[in-house]
C-alpha cells in the first residue's frame, strides 16, 4: 500500500490493482489454510523440531541444552537399537522379496484368464482391509505352540514337528513375516495385476509367434516392461516396512526378550515409556534418514531422469 507514492511512474491503476491481486484470490488461500498449516507446521515444522531436539539432552521434557551427537552415540551403542536395526533389515529384505515375488506370481496367475478370478482376488486382498493389530493377534493364536498349528501337525502324526517362531529368538522375525506377508501381499498383487492388464495383448501374440514359453515371456519381456509398477511397489513396501510397529506390538510385544524389537518400537518406548525423549528423537531421526536413503535414488530415477530426457 505504501508503494502508492513511490514515484510518478506508478499509475493510479497499478496502485489499485496491487493490493486487490492478493485479495482477489483470497478464498482459495483461506480454504487452503488447513493444508498450509499441516504441511508447514505439522509435517515440516515437526520434522525439523524433532531433528533439532535430537541434539539435546532432553529427558522427561524437551529442553534446549546441546549435547552434540551424544544421543546418537548412545543410540548406536545400545544393544536394543542394534537388534532393532538388524531385525528391520532382515524383515525388510525378506518382506521386500517375498511381497514382490508372491504379489507378482499371484497377479500373473490371475491374469491367465481363469475362472473365478474375482473370488480369488477378494480372498487375497481381504487381509489388507484388516489392521496390523488384528493380523498380529490372529497369527499369534495360529502360531500358538500348545494349541495352534504345531499341535495340529503333531496330532496328524508328525510328532517331532516343531514350528514355534514366536518363542524362538532365532526365527521370531519369520513369525512376523508370515503375518506381514499375509496382510500386505494382496495390495501388491492388485497393483501388479493392474500393470499386467495394461500390457498390450500383441506382446503375447508376438511371443507366441516366436515360440517363447509363457514363463520365459514373463521373465524376459513382461517384467522389464513393468518396471514403473515394480518401482511403485518397491517404494510402497519399503515405506511400510520402516513403519513396522503395530504388528510387533500385537504379535510378540518385542519378545522373546528383545529379539523382535524394531526401530519404531524403540522410538515409542524411549519417548512415551522411558521418558527418554532425546533417545526417541535421535532414533526417529535415524528412521527419517533411512526413508531418505530409500527415497532419494527413487526420486532421482523418477523425476531427475524425466527432466534430462
Amino acid at each position: 500500500m505504501t508503494t502508492t507514492d513511490i514515484g510518478p511512474n506508478t499509475g493510479p491503476r497499478e496502485t489499485v490493482r496491487r493490493p486487490s491481486r492478493f485479495l482477489r484470490n483470497l478464498s482459495p488461500k483461506i480454504a487452503m489454510l488447513p493444508l498450509i498449516f499441516t504441511a508447514c507446521v505439522v509435517f515440516l515444522g515437526g520434522t525439523l523440531w524433532t531433528v533439532l531436539y535430537s541434539f539435546t539432552k532432553s529427558g522427561l521434557l524437551p529442553r534446549l541444552s546441546w549435547v552434540g551427537l551424544d544421543q546418537y552415540e548412545r543410540l548406536w551403542s545400545s544393544r536394543k537399537w542394534i537388534v532393532s536395526i538388524e531385525n528391520l533389515a532382515l524383515y525388510g529384505i525378506c518382506s521386500l522379496i517375498g511381497t514382490l515375488v508372491i504379489g507378482f506370481t499371484l497377479a500373473a496367475l490371475l491374469d491367465r484368464k481363469i475362472r473365478g478370478e474375482a473370488v480369488f482376488r477378494s480372498i487375497f486382498l481381504y487381509p489388507f482391509a484388516l489392521s496390523f493389530i488384528v493380523t498380529g493377534l490372529v497369527w499369534q493364536w495360529i502360531l500358538n505352540p500348545e494349541l495352534g498349528l504345531q499341535n495340529v501337525v503333531r496330532e496328524w502324526g508328525w510328532t517331532s514337528f516343531t514350528f514355534d517362531p514366536l518363542n524362538n529368538p532365532e526365527i521370531v522375525m519369520f513369525g512376523l513375516l508370515i503375518a506381514g506377508l499375509w496382510q500386505g501381499t494382496g495390495l501388491i498383487m492388485c497393483i501388479m495385476l493392474a500393470g499386467l492388464r495394461g500390457i498390450d495383448e500383441d506382446i503375447w501374440k508376438a511371443a507366441r509367434v516366436d515360440g517363447i514359453g509363457t514363463v520365459k515371456t514373463y521373465i524376459r519381456v513382461i517384467i522389464p516392461m513393468m518396471r514403473p509398477v515394480f518401482v511403485t511397489s518397491l517404494v510402497l513396501i519399503a515405506a511400510g516396512i520402516v513403519k513396522l510397529y503395530d504388528l510387533v506390538v500385537a504379535q510378540t510385544s518385542g519378545g522373546p526378550g528383545i529379539s523382535s524389537e524394531v526401530p519404531a518400537k524403540y522410538v515409542m518406548t524411549a519417548m512415551f515409556g522411558g521418558q527418554n525423549l532425546g533417545q526417541g528423537f535421535a532414533a526417529s531421526s535415524m528412521m527419517l534418514l533411512m526413508v531418505v536413503i530409500i527415497l532419494i535414488p527413487w526420486a532421482y530415477l523418477e523425476f531427475g531422469g524425466k527432466k534430462h530426457g
Binding site: L44, A129, S131, V138, W141, L187, I191, V249
Partner: protein, 315 residues
C-alpha cells in the same frame, strides 16, 4: 475371436488359457480343461487361497467354541457345540485393567473418533483438491509438494511435536485432538485423490461458471461437489478403514484408557498378562474389531480396489 486387443480382455476373461493368445494362423488349439498348466495354475491358486482364508476361518471357528473344546481339540476343527457366549463376553465383559465393560466401550470410542475425522478430512481434502487444481496461486504447488513429501516421513518423527501442539491447544488426550491428528495425516493421500480427479474435469465448465460470475465457493458447491460423488466414496473408504485400523495415534494421543479406540483396547484385552487366557473371547474380540473394515471391503468391492490403487500411485 478375441484379437481385438486388450480392451476386450475383460470380455474374454472366461475363455480358456490360450484362447485369446492363439489367434495365430492355425487358430486356437482345442483345449483340454484338465491340461497340465491349468492344474498347476488352479492348484497353486487354491493352496495360496487356503493360506489367505485360513486366519479368518480360524478366527470364526475359535470364537464359536467353548474353552474346554479349544484346549482339547484341533485349532482348525469346526466347533462341536456352537456357543455365542465368547462374543457376548468380548462385547460386554472383557477386561482391560480395571474396566470390565468389554469392547463395546472401544467400539463407541472408535465411532466417535471415526465420524468427525472422516467428515472433516473428506471436506478439507475436497476443498484442497479443488483449490489446487483450479485456483492455483503462487506457492500452492510448493505447499502441496511439502504435504506429499510429509506422507513419506515416518510418523514417529512427528509424534512428539504434535503432542506439544495439542497440549498448547488444550486438546492432548482428548478425542478431538485425535480427530485433528487423523485429519492431518489423512490429508496427503486424500488431497492427491481429489486433485487428480478434479484435474480431469474440463476447464471450459469452470471458465463458463467464472464468466457467469460465480465465485470460489459457489463453483465448488454448485458445480464441483455434485460431480465428485464417486471420488468422495473412494476417499471415504480409504479414511474409514485407515482410521478404524489405526493403533499408533490412538495409543499416543489418548491419555485415558476410558477413551481408547477399539484397536488399542483390543490389544490390551488380548495381550493382558493377568488371568486365564480365554482364546475364544480373544478371537471374538479380534473378529469384532475387524468386522467394520471387512464389511466395508466386501460391500464396496471394486471401489476398495480403486481406493488402494489411488493410494498406490501417490509415489
Amino acid at each position: 475371436m478375441a484379437d481385438t486387443g486388450m480392451l476386450n480382455a475383460a470380455a474374454a476373461v472366461t475363455q480358456p488359457l490360450r484362447g485369446t493368445l492363439a489367434a495365430g494362423p492355425r487358430g486356437p488349439k482345442p483345449k483340454n480343461k484338465f491340461s497340465r498348466s491349468n492344474i498347476i495354475i488352479y492348484g497353486t491358486l487354491f493352496v495360496v487361497a487356503l493360506y489367505y482364508a485360513l486366519p479368518l476361518y480360524v478366527m470364526i471357528v475359535t470364537s464359536l467354541k467353548g474353552l474346554p473344546e479349544i484346549r482339547m481339540g484341533n485349532i482348525f476343527a469346526p466347533p462341536l457345540e456352537v456357543t455365542f457366549q465368547p462374543w457376548v463376553k468380548a462385547w460386554q465383559e472383557a477386561c482391560t485393567g480395571i474396566n470390565c465393560d468389554g469392547l463395546s466401550r472401544g467400539f463407541w470410542n472408535s465411532v466417535r473418533i471415526l465420524i468427525p475425522s472422516v467428515i472433516l478430512s473428506v471436506a478439507i481434502a475436497s476443498v484442497n483438491g479443488y483449490a489446487l487444481s483450479m485456483w492455483k496461486f503462487k506457492g500452492s504447488e510448493v505447499f502441496f509438494t511439502i504435504l506429499m513429501i510429509g506422507a513419506f516421513i515416518p510418523y514417529q518423527v512427528m509424534l512428539y511435536p504434535i503432542v506439544i501442539l495439542l497440549r498448547e491447544a488444550g486438546l492432548y488426550g482428548s478425542l478431538t485432538g485425535l480427530v485433528l491428528v487423523h485429519v492431518a495425516f489423512g490429508m496427503p493421500i486424500n488431497t492427491l485423490l481429489f486433485r487428480n480427479y478434479f484435474a480431469s474435469i474440463p476447464e471450459e465448465l469452470f471458465k463458463a461458471a467464472r464468466v457467469d460470475g460465480a465465485g470460489f465457493w459457489a463453483i465448488f458447491f454448485k458445480i464441483i461437489l455434485p460431480m465428485s460423488l464417486p471420488i468422495c466414496v473412494v476417499a471415504l473408504i480409504i479414511q474409514v478403514t485407515g482410521i478404524w485400523n489405526d493403533f499408533l495415534f490412538g495409543v499416543t494421543y489418548i491419555s485415558s484408557p476410558d477413551r481408547y479406540p477399539m484397536t488399542v483396547q483390543l490389544n490390551n484385552i488380548v495381550n493382558s498378562v493377568q488371568g486365564v487366557k480365554e482364546y475364544n473371547v480373544n478371537m471374538a474380540a479380534t473378529l469384532l474389531t475387524g468386522l467394520v473394515p471387512l464389511v466395508i471391503y466386501f460391500a464396496s468391492g471394486k471401489l476398495f480396489v480403486r481406493g488402494i490403487a489411488a493410494g498406490a500411485v501417490k509415489g
